[in-house]
Structures are given as C-alpha cells and as structure tokens.
C-alpha cells in the first residue's frame, strides 16, 4: 500500500511547483501557466540553456535552474512531456537574442515537443538547437527509438550551462552537449517500483530474490531480471558493460554519477559508489570526478543508476565551474 503527501493527484505538479518557487526565491521564478521555471536573476548576452520533460524525476530539471546551469526548465505532468507551447514560452522568456539550447532526454514525446517548439521558435526568428541525451545502455538496440535519456542529463546540463555562461555560441554548445552525451552511458537497477501520485500500487512487483536490471525512470519494468545479491555482486554487473560501451581502459578518465531513483538511502548510494570505484580502479580507470546523491528520480522507486561519462580537460573544467541552483551548488 503506497500513500503520498498529495491533494488531488491532478494538481500534484502545479502545487509542487508553487512550493518549489516559494522555497527558492533567490534562485528561481515560476510562470504558472504555461508552466515553466526561470532564473530569479535572468542572464544576459548568453545562449539560453533550457531543459524539460515529464515531472516525477525531481530534482531534475527544475532543481537545476540557476547560475551556471539552466536558464529555464519546463516540467510536464508526471511522466508526460511538456507541450510545445510550454517549451516555446519558456524559450522565448529566456532568449537573449543569442539563441536557445534545448537539452532533451530521448523519449518520443519529449523529442517531438522540443522539435516542434524549435520549429515554432524558428517561425518567430528565435534560433534553437537540440542536444539529445540518450545514455541508457539497457535500451541500446538497433531499431526503435534509441537509448533512453536518464541521469547523464545532469552532466550535459551542467557542462553546457557552464560553457554558455562563458559565452559559447549555440553551435559550440550543441557540439559540446552532443559530445558529452555521446560519451555517457548509464545502467539502472531497481529493487522496488515507485507509485504514481494517488495510486496505491507500485507500477510492478518484484520477487524478493530478483532485481530489475536496466530499468528506466518511468516506472516501467526492465527487459531483464537478475538475481539480487550484495552490492559487490550487483555493481560490477553495472560497471563492466558501461566501461565496455564507452571503450574505457587503462588510463581512461571518467566522471561517475551514482544516482538514487527516489527511495534509496545515501548509505546505500555511497556504498555503491565505493564498489564502482573499486571495480573501475581494478580496470585501470580513473574516477576523476563524481556526483553521488538523488538527482534523477522515478518517483519513489528504490534503486540506483550508475552513469559514466568520458572526461577530458574541457569537460572537467566546465564541470568544476561554479554553479548555483537549488539542487546543485558549488
């Protein structure tokens, strides 16, 4: 039996956005209808970086609006793409004349609505470019819509946000974002599904001796179930395919993100990070930067994802650049 702190399920996102904006007045402003979040202090003279997608993944994306990262975030209903009109309105609101970079997780609805928004904006003379984030190795198949986008979005948004702050133009940002996305892969493991606001059953039930291996962030099941076991057995099953997919080897440098899917404690996430580092170290791979915490969720799913991102000097410098948002500040 799952319960949540909600009023009417249909109002969850609007009410949460209202609370979010009230909680972070120094960082963000909310436009309620159409719904989008912009920086409290608008930037000037730079390419605007805008992201968005369904809600239910908080702090992604609204939590990353602020100096050094996003200029605007466009939240849809839970697990539902924002509309093209929302995206257009948010993009218009933050365009300074140098164009808008759309960072989009690779889901049909998101891609479609951001593409349409791009066409609507073009009609109005606002230039935009898209970076598709498609890091989910579990959906790496030859046909179909391609790999899903998950936690690598945080890295792409951070890196592009920093580069935009330094004055990069839209073409440079698009190329940079695509390079980072291309160098990112993620695998996610669920121990228990989350439940939609107002629903009393989780989206799937797992037997006690199995995990969903390669799960997404929308409560859907994975293609595989594997045996549950201690982290020392599960984590290497995540690390090795990622390292292989990215062609990592002795001397490679990576940025690692260990991300909780909603209901996973920091104790567990840090334990997973410790295992991942160990496995990578044994392979000669150097974890030069990391982010461990709850950043891209699937409502209250119990599980975690591991993202590896190929790190070069430019990416590292942009990663290290100052950022001040509700969910990420340094």
């Amino acid at each position: 039996m799952r319960r949540q702190f909600v009023n009417d399920p249909g109002d969850v996102v609007a009410e949460a956005l209202e609370g979010f904006a009230a909680a972070w007045p120094g960082h963000v402003r909310l436009n309620a209808d159409p719904a989008y979040v912009v920086r409290a202090r608008p930037a000037s003279g730079k390419v605007a970086v805008v992201s968005g997608g369904g809600s239910g993944h908080e702090p992604l994306h609204v939590g990353f609006v602020g100096t050094g990262m996003l200029d605007a975030a466009v939240p849809g209903a839970v697990f539902t793409s924002p509309t093209a009109v929302q995206i257009r309105a948010a993009s218009r609101a933050v365009d300074t004349g140098r164009g808008v970079l759309h960072v989009v997780k690779n889901y049909t609805g998101d891609v479609l609505n951001f593409r349409i928004a791009g066409e609507l904006l073009a009609d109005e003379g606002v230039e935009s470019g898209i970076v598709l984030v498609d890091d989910d190795l579990a959906t790496d198949t030859d046909d179909g819509p391609g790999r899903r986008g998950t936690a690598a979005a945080v890295v792409v948004e951070k890196v592009c946000g920093a580069a935009a702050e330094r004055g990069a133009d839209l073409a440079e940002l698009t190329a940079l974002g695509r390079r980072v996305a291309a160098g990112s892969r993620t695998l996610s493991v669920a121990l228990a599904a989350g439940a939609h606001p107002g629903q009393s059953r989780p989206s799937f039930e797992l037997p006690g001796d199995e995990v969903e291996f390669g799960v997404g962030i929308h409560g859907e099941r994975a293609r595989q179930r594997r045996a549950f076991g201690p982290s020392r057995e599960i984590v290497p099953q995540m690390v090795s395919p990622l390292a292989e997919a990215l062609g990592l080897g002795r001397g490679s440098r990576v940025l690692a993100v260990v991300n909780g899917l909603g209901a996973t404690s920091d104790l567990e996430l840090y334990g997973v990070f410790r295992e991942a580092r160990r496995v990578l170290k044994d392979a000669g791979v150097d974890v030069v930067r990391s982010l461990v915490g709850t950043y891209v969720t699937s409502l209250d799913m119990a599980g975690c994802s591991l993202t590896l991102v190929r790190a070069d000097d430019e990416v590292l410098e942009l990663w290290d650049a100052p950022v001040a948002t509700p969910a990420l500040t340094w």
Binding site: P34, T80, S81, T83, A84, V85, L112, N113, I116, L120
Partner: protein, 212 residues
Amino acid sequence: MAEQLDIADVERWVLAFADAVEEEAGYLTDLDRRSGDGDFGSNMAAALRRSREAVAAAGSTAAGDPFQVLGETFLGHSGGTSGPLFGMWFREFGKAGAGAEAFTLEMLAGATANGWATVARLGSARVGDRTMVDAIAPASEALAEAVEGGLSLSEGLRSAAEAARVGADGTSGLLGRRGRTSYVGEAALGSPDPGAVAVALFYGAAREVAGA
C-alpha cells in the same frame, strides 16, 4: 455548393470534426488500447472540447484562424504523441488560410501536402508505418489529383475523404514501425490505427460541410 469554404464553413468543419471524434472517442481509445496505451480517444476529445471554446472565443477574421486556434490548443494542451502532431497539422491549415477570406481546393491541397510533410518530418513516419500518415498521404494525393483534374471543392473533398477512409482501413493490415504500436507487433493486426481513423474523420467532416 460553394467552391470555397469561408470562415463560417471552417468553423462548422471544426465542430463537425469535434462531434465525430467525441462520438467515436470510445472506439478510438479502444483502438489505441489494442495498439498503444489506450488514451487516444479521450485525449483527442479533451483537446477538441477545449478547442470548441477557444474557436468560439477567438472571433476569427480569416479562414485559417480557426485552424490556427486549433493548432495552438493542441500544441499547448495535448500530451502524448498525436496531440502535438495534430497541432502542427492544424497549424499548416492555419498558415494556408492566414489572411484569406476562404479556402479554395488548391489551398486545401497545399495545406494537406504541407501537413503531410510536417508530420512525416517530425514523426519520421513514412507511408506504411501504420500511423496517421497512412490516411494523410492518400488524402493528399486525391486532393492533388482533384486540383489537377479541375474538380469542384466538394468533389475534391469527397475524393479526399474516401481516400483517407481507405487508407485508414488499410492500416489494419500493417505492422507498426513508429510510436507505441511498434512495440506490440502483430497484436495490433486486424484493427486500424486510431490516428489514421481520426484523419479520416477530419476529411469526412470537411466533406459533410462541403455538402458532398
């Protein structure tokens, strides 16, 4: 019958389309249940209910305006895959009739061709992929032939409506290659694609308004 569709005709067309979709909402949803996630009919009906009000409130001054409103409403309020595609589809009709007193057959043929291109581009969908394109494409070809052959507006629209209906029916035998239906494979065979059926209803409504 008139050789043009003026603002009032276009508004009637929109309402007739809304009526038809609302009437068939259960059927359309059921089709989407067989081939997707079962929200097509209710999503379309909801967006059209909203559109009725918006069109009424808009006070159109050009034949394209009701479609412009329809397009914005779908792009602004309709989730899922088909919502924004229909939004862009209507938008092409809005553009075609922007500033015009009425739609001619040529204008409708042009809007349909552009709409086809837009939907195909955005959805990466080709004929035979089991999508709305499978109704759009034959309608577009029928309209082009009608223009070429010098047919009347009502004749052209009847031809388009029939072509769209045949195209939609034909999706029953197609394996999905785009959208959610591509995940269910053969399970969708035997019933048509809901998006294609909706396109057929769209031209059916036009034919009705044109009195054909």
